[in-house]
Amino acid sequence: MTGFRIGTPPTLDQSKVLRFRFDNKIYHGFAGDSLASALIAHGVRLVGRSFKYHRPRGFLSAGIEEPNGLLSVGEGARLTPNIKATMQPLYDGLVAQSQNRWPSLQFDMMGVNDWFANLLAAGFYYKTFMWPASFWEKVYEPLIRRAAGLGQAANLPDPDHYAQGNLFCDCLIIGSGPAGLIAALAAGRAGLRVILCEQDFVLGGRLLHEGDSFLSLSTQDWLTETLQELESLPTVRIMKQTMVFGHYDGGTYGAIEHNAAYSMATSAQEPRQIFWRIVAKQSILAAGAIERPHLFPNNDRPGIMLGSAVRSYLHRYGTACGHSTLVYTSQDDGWQTAFDLKKAGLAVIAIADTRSMIPQHLEAQAWQYDLPILKNACVTETTGRLSLNSVTITHEGGRETFQCDTLAVSNGWTPTLHLTSHQGSKPIWDASRHMFLPSKMQQGLLCAGAANGAMGLGECLASGLTAANRMLEQLDKQPQKIILPETPAPVLQTASFFHPTQTGKAFVDFQHDVTTNDIHLAYQEGYRSIEHLKRYTTLGMGTDQGKTSNMAGLAIMAELCGQTPDAVGTTVFRPPFEPIAIGALAGHHEGKHFRTTRLSAAHSVWEKEGAVFVEAGQWLRPQYFPKKGETHWRETVDREVVTTRQSVGLCDVSTLGKIEITGKDALAFLDFVYCNPLKSLAVGKTRYGLMLREDGFVYDDGTIARLEDNRFVITTTTAQAVGVMNHLDFCHQVHKPHWDVRMVSVTEQYSQFAVAGPQSRALLERVIGQQIDLSDEAFPYLACKEFSLAPHIKARLFRLSFSGERAYELAIPAPYGEVLAQTLITAGQDFGLTLYGTEALGVMRIEKGHSAGNELNGMTTAGDLGLARMVSKSKDFIGRVMAQRPALTDPDRPQLAGFRPVQPQDQFAAGAHVFSKNVPHSIEYDEGYLTSVAFSPICGSLIGLGLIRNGPQRHGEVIIAYDSMRGRKTELEIVSPCFYDPEGVRLNG
């Protein structure tokens, strides 16, 4: 047993005991503990096995940079892998498991990987396991994936839910350490709307992790006083457990707030996390800094920890990491660790400093504490398989081995400046502070405190206030005067990152098991760029993104290349700063909530009538209406078609896009956006219209109805309703801005029903005969009229037919859609009315040879669809010029034709390609393909529409439809695309 509880810090509530389980053993901790601190307090040191070599690992850090202490937390569907135990607040009933070990953490069979380490060096999977090639996917990759890795996902649907929200503020402050707090105070006092985000579950940042740091008052008193004032300021919002993970364009930030109350016992109704989009006029990054570890052989043994972490566990969690500690440092900062441990009454074996010149004040203090000092020191070896036993050091006095259970390492600090890089600016090397600092060129983002290179409490406070006042100036506010509390002098200074030239094999990236040898190997093999080094060795590619390893990697590469760190540079930091749950980004947009489901106004009527629905984009449309006794959908659809053709059918066509267009230039505008001439369209008339894209291909089709001189209503296909609206607005505002045209989408404002069949007029006469004259003289084919259906209810009637029968489309304001549908159904009983859905609609339009979505596929021209004669030659319109290109007018292009099987019982499907008889079925002989196929009850066989070379000239020819998906060949006869009533007799009644 190594770690143990010592002291009672105010951040720990020892009256609240929390029980938790780790690897099936029960432990307890206190409210305020992290999972890591509670484990350390129990002497648990071994918490994981490394990624590749399965080496025993313990906690390195006490924060977000933790590379080793990744645990699976939770059970069942709520199991979450790769949680940093250092960041996980302890809660009662928490269940955690170690990862990447079998059968147990203490005895891991895969530990043999460590013996074969030479095989697993940088780029090993590019070099080994290469032969035979077919083994890669089936044998090698699964093996490697099983052996290497992190935790396993739950593989069950996530029962928790996640919320999202937007926040707006004048000033976003990221980090609640001394710099962030003082900046928030200044901004809050100036009356700015402030959001202060802290990723931790306690506010205070580094202040919580150090001993008393002010001269004349305790840290706790200062924190309490400051937080009380901040909480009292009405414009300051404090968000704990909220990690700002990304900085985006225009002052937008992404943040994840973890529900503080979340535990296994929490109901799944409460959001587990909230994804916030924060829009800030200005922001201050005060995210602190991360300490760097040392490089020496076997530097990854459990018990070797960052000095700053040893202090964190001591001060914040009242926990000693071991009984006997040796401090190894290249910096003043390491001495603080030794002094703090001594002050707490813990044994410090020695302080080993890599430097020969030590500041006088540190040496003097060390003497007071009776601390042995080793200068010019270099750790050359460590022992202890599952926990550190001894450390061997060469120093001025020679080579010595020390028995100790903890080695506290300090090798300088790296500012946490990741967010400053998300918008593309590169960190700048500061040779005097031996660290990369944020570039000065930041849009609306200032840096303060250790994130900006400030070292020591006094400097951090001052830098927080300076940043806040700079920001206040930019927002035209008065700078704030705050008297900062006194802090001790002299300030601890930073020295350069220490890495001996001959380290032997030392771990650089603990999480991905990248060693100094791997970096040397990458260099030998010609990799120089830090970005290439990263990808070849996987340095910094773990879930910690190299927060403790990037500096070592680039320092070694710089030395090998004979360059300075600034010449090598850092890899680019991209969002997210920390792994975030995809669930939080998705929020409620999952399953059926992924997109809106749109229901037509009469949906409940169709439901009552037993409709089977189909998704048409966002819409749910009735597909068919099965009746009792019908055993197959085809039986239903055949009945719907036959009944409609014999008497009357009713279909909801409300989903078609409907756009109302008014203005003096409305007609000219329509004439410009449709390719067929519209100038002659009379009031009270409707015309089919075809819209091209500017590149000359067909975009959409629909109808144009002229209700009044300068008032039109057009329809679009369901699929393109939104696109056409955008297109028309574009054509108006960009191409014809001076024309007097006004447009509005009325798709959702009107319900529209198609009433089709020989009895359609009789049915409508019964329902609306009082209001409108339906005689063929008054209301012939293609007529349209707006009329009052009841006082204050304006309805529109169009005589249009998609089915080929006498047919009408009746539109009514959507609130009356339901009642109109019901009225038509009731009135229709005497006429044998059938309801029909999209299937029967499709069958009837294929029987009539009308093009629809399958033919308007973005690759067809008006000519391809047999509509070449519609295209105007005497006006300008969208697509006019490009439609005349030779390739688009080539007579050899596949053109619309009908197809019917030579043997009526033969099967074929849309998508089959067509070939002449007696040629191979290969691409060079391909003549086109079938676009739409349906069973026609009128023809008694399957019929199809398709595009085939020279189609209109080849009626009567027999070809082969080759369906390579189903391996089927069918003999088809090319016929006219219109299978039913080609003279249009039925249309006119």
């Binding site: 937007n166 985006y248 364009d249 225009g250 002052g251 937008t252 989009r277 829009v279 918008q423 593309g424 849009q443 500017e694 590149d695 955008n726 607005d729 574009f730 108006h732 505002q733 960009v734 191409h735 801005p737 010029v881 490009m882």
Partner: protein
């Protein structure tokens, strides 16, 4: 990302739909139509794009720096000066 609609003020990018190069104007001359439809520059620096602000249905010309994403101006397409 945020764009400042001249009618609605600064709004979230999710309210906008992108269309493409706004430096091209539909030509009166048929011979120039091919360039208008297909030929595009890919400049580093200032560039203009069309964006539709869905809620207010205005097509906008957004001038931005393709290297820094800085937006330098947003104007309604319909308010642009007369075309060649």
């Amino acid at each position: 990302m945020r764009l400042t609609c001249p009618y609605c003020g600064p709004r979230d990018s999710r309210e906008f739909t992108y269309k493409g190069d706004a430096t091209r104007i539909r030509p009166a001359d048929d011979d120039k139509m091919f360039d208008y439809v297909y030929v595009r520059d890919n400049p580093k620096g200032l560039h203009q794009d069309y964006w539709l602000h869905q809620p207010c249905r205005n097509w906008l010309v957004v001038e931005r720096n393709t290297a820094t994403h800085e937006v330098t101006s947003v104007t309604a397409a319909a308010q642009r000066e007369a075309k060649p």
